[in-house]
Structure formats: C-alpha cells, structure tokens
C-alpha cells in the first residue's frame, strides 16, 4: 500500500480528503510501523538463530514461561521497568528494540500533530493530543509498577 498514491488517487477523483493533521499522523505512523516491524523481525532472527546469545538460554526458557510474571522476574534475576536496556547486548533483550519502537510510534505521531492543531487554533484538540502524549509517556516511563500476584 503506497500511502502517497492513495492520497493522489483521492485528490484526483475529488473524493473526501482527510485533514492535514490526519495525513501527517498517517504518514508518520506508516514509517514508524515499517521500521518497528523490520526491527522486530531482524532482532528475532538474531536471537533464535543464536547469532546473539540470550540472557536466558533458549533451552531453559520453558522453565519460566509458566510462572506468574513476579515469580518469573525473581527466578531469572530480571528487573522490571527500563532496566532491560542494560541487557541490550543479549539476544532476547535485543528484541525489545522492535517492541518498544512499535509501542512508541503512537507517541511520536501525537507529538507530530500538536503543532498543526495549534496553528489552526484548534485549542481543544491540541490539549487532547498533549494530554494523550502525557498519558502515554507516563505509561512508558516505568513509574507504574504492580505488586504482582
């Protein structure tokens, strides 16, 4: 699917056109999604092929995946939050680059459309987009932790 071609088709056929902010959002989302998916697949290949050795050996991972997450973290010595960054050289944690990219692309898209709302003096939607960014950044910050069960 070529986003620009679709847009040219819509324009040529005088079909209903999306707003400027909607187009900006779509283009940023398209690029981010492609990059995230490519990173996810590449890093997974490096992991399962054994090119990059993992933190938890693949043949022992089945000892942990049936555990509740709190017990899994305790048993593997993995810390929650952004501590995984310190293990980025390990094959299993390398995969988090793609996962985090896919989970972060929406934040980038929202940041990208706030200036358009402000320029159009669409204050309410600028505030909604700003609050959405704040909510997603808060969720991504790692501040929110559960006690586990």
């Amino acid at each position: 699917m070529d986003i620009r071609k679709i847009y040219q088709h819509i324009y040529a056929h005088k079909m209903s056109k999306p707003s400027e902010e909607q187009i900006r959002y779509a283009l940023m989302l398209s690029g981010g999604m492609k990059a995230g998916l490519a990173a996810l697949i590449l890093t997974f290949f490096l992991y399962v092929s054994g090119i990059v050795s993992p933190h938890i050996p693949k043949d022992t991972i089945s000892n942990f995946w049936h555990l509740p997450v709190a017990e899994y973290l305790q048993a593997t010595g993995i810390e929650s939050g952004w501590k995984w960054v310190a293990l980025i050289q390990k094959g299993d944690f390398l995969n988090f680059i793609g996962i985090v990219f896919l989970s972060g692309v929406t934040i980038i898209c929202f940041i990208g459309i706030i200036p358009i709302f402000l320029r159009k003096k669409d204050t309410v939607y600028a505030i909604i987009a700003f609050v959405e960014v704040a909510v997603l950044v808060f969720a991504a910050s790692g501040i929110l932790k559960t006690g586990g069960h």
């Binding site: 699917m1 070529d2 986003i3 071609k5 847009y7 819509i10 079909m15 209903s16 999306p18 707003s19 902010e21 909607q22 959002y25 779509a26 283009l27 989302l29 981010g32 999604m33 995230g36 998916l37 697949i41 290949f45 399962v48 092929s49 693949k58 043949d59 022992t60 089945s62 000892n63 995946w65 049936h66 555990l67 509740p68 997450v69 899994y72 993995i78 929650s80 299993d92 995969n95 988090f96 793609g98 996962i99 896919l102 989970s103 929406t106 934040i107 459309i113 939607y125 909604i128 987009a129 959405e132 909510v135 997603l136 969720a139 991504a140 929110l144 932790k145 559960t146 586990g148 069960h149």
Partner: protein, 323 residues
Amino acid sequence: MLKTFINKIFFITAIFMFCIFADSFIMLLDASDSISAETGSSMPWWFWPLSLFIVSFLLGIVAVLGGVGGGVLFVPIVGGFFPFHLDFVRGAGLLVALAGALAAGPGLLIKNLADLRLALPFALIASICAIAGAMIGLALPTNIVQTALGVCILFIVGIMLSAKKSEYPEVKEPDALSTALRINGVYYEVSTGHTINWKIHRTPQGLVVFIFIGLMAGMFGLGAGWANVPVLNLLLGAPLKVSVATSKFLLSITDTSAAWIYINNGAVLPIMVVPSIVGIMLGSIIGVRILSKTKPAAIRNIVISMLFLAGLRAMLKGLGIWT
C-alpha cells in the same frame, strides 16, 4: 508499496522461522537431553513458539474471515491451551492487537474512513482506563483474572450473537459536545459512488462506555474492536465503515498505553510475541485473499463457537474445574 513490503517481510520471516525450526527439529532427533527436566515437559524449547506461530497464523485467517480482531481470539485460545502463564499471554495479545492496528491505521486514515477527530476524545479516555486495567490485571490473582476473562469472552459471544449493525444510522441532531468538538465528517462510499456526510450523538454516554472498554482492554489484553464498533455505530451513530475503521485506529492508541504497562512489568516474552505477531499478520494477509471465496456466515459461526469454547475453558480453568 507498503503492502508489498509487509508481504515480502512476512514471507521471508516465515521462511526463516521454518528453516530455523526445521533445523532444530533435526537436531532434536539426537538431542533428547535438551528436554526440560524442571517443567517435566517432553518438548524442546522451539516446540511451543513454533506451535504458537502456526496457531496464530490460523487465527489470523479465521479472524479476517470471521470479522473479528486477532487479540480477542488469541488470548483465550492461547491462554487456555498453551503452557504460557496468562500474564505473558495477555502481554502478547496486546502487542498482537497493537501491531495489527498500527499496520491498518495509515491506510484507514488516508482513505478518511478512520476519523482522527472522532477517535481522539474516546482514545484519551480509553487509554487512561487501559493503564488502570493493565495494573489491576497484573495485580490480581491469576485464577480471578482467568475466570473474569472467561466471563468476558462469553459476554462477547453474547454481543456477537445479538448485536445488530446499522450501515448508516440516523442521527437527527448532533449533541452539544460533538458539535463543540466538531466531530463530523465526509467519506466516499466506493460501492455506491456516493459521498456520505455523517455526525454523531450521545457523545457523553459514549465517553462513559469507553471507560469500561479501556479497563477491559488493559485487564485482559484483548484489543477491544468487539466493543468499539457497536458503541461507535449503534450508540454514537457513526456509519458502519467509519465505526469499523475508527475502532481499528483507536486500538492502536488504547493498546499502546496498556502494552507499556505489560512491557515495564516484565510481562512480555519476545519468544512468544514475535511468532504471534508474524503468524497472525501473515494469516490475515492469507485471510484477506480467500475472503471472497468463503461464506461469511458459516465462518462467523465457527468463530463464535471457538470463542464460546475458549471462554468456557478460561472460566472453568479459573474456577479450578477444568485445569
């Protein structure tokens, strides 16, 4: 171009995965010492991820043919029949739903079927509540979450059996809030060649309902298309195509907030997530290709039956009756 790119990536990845797993299978024949002693499983490490990839692939096909999102099938089926803990299944389910929504989002926005102005206020409410739902889900005992998941899935089956759809709902007068937010739009209906003007009503009620949708999406990792579409279409009065497309786009925001909670609490296992995402998206591509050759009503009945069984299994597993 994007579709071709994604298709190529998926097919190459599928080939890689099959090669790696096939290679491991050959190694297995003379490497029985790789069996996990602690879990008592007679399966090597790659067996379950490969099974997950195959099942996700099949779910991707069935989801498209049955007109449901992948997440709603993935969580109860994988949670009920695979050895992974429900925490990791929900984390993977959210990322599966998120990846599908991210892939569909750009095209739906550019075609003006998904509407940013319609999605944003509801997405804000749902994403805040999805964070709360994810926190609650990870804090509660597994058997309670499992039972609640089963009840939720059976409730979804009820919705699927009873909910009607309205292609162009009649909205006589938009409410004050949607008027103030200028939530209305125009889209081009390819099948009739007409331009459809739409507006919505009952916005405050819709915002309240999205509190519960967000909570359930975060708690169970289901995605929430099954709830978004009826609310947008029947309650708010958006045309069916706009509702379906905006719902899909909305998922990319709701699931993002919940996904971060699962990631930051360690409930994401790449060895589960990647085969699931690739499998379900590859299956979706195949599903779209065979969609025109199938009978939608028959497939929908199969999906409802699968959901009913998976929901029943989750509920009975949670109650300790069917372990």
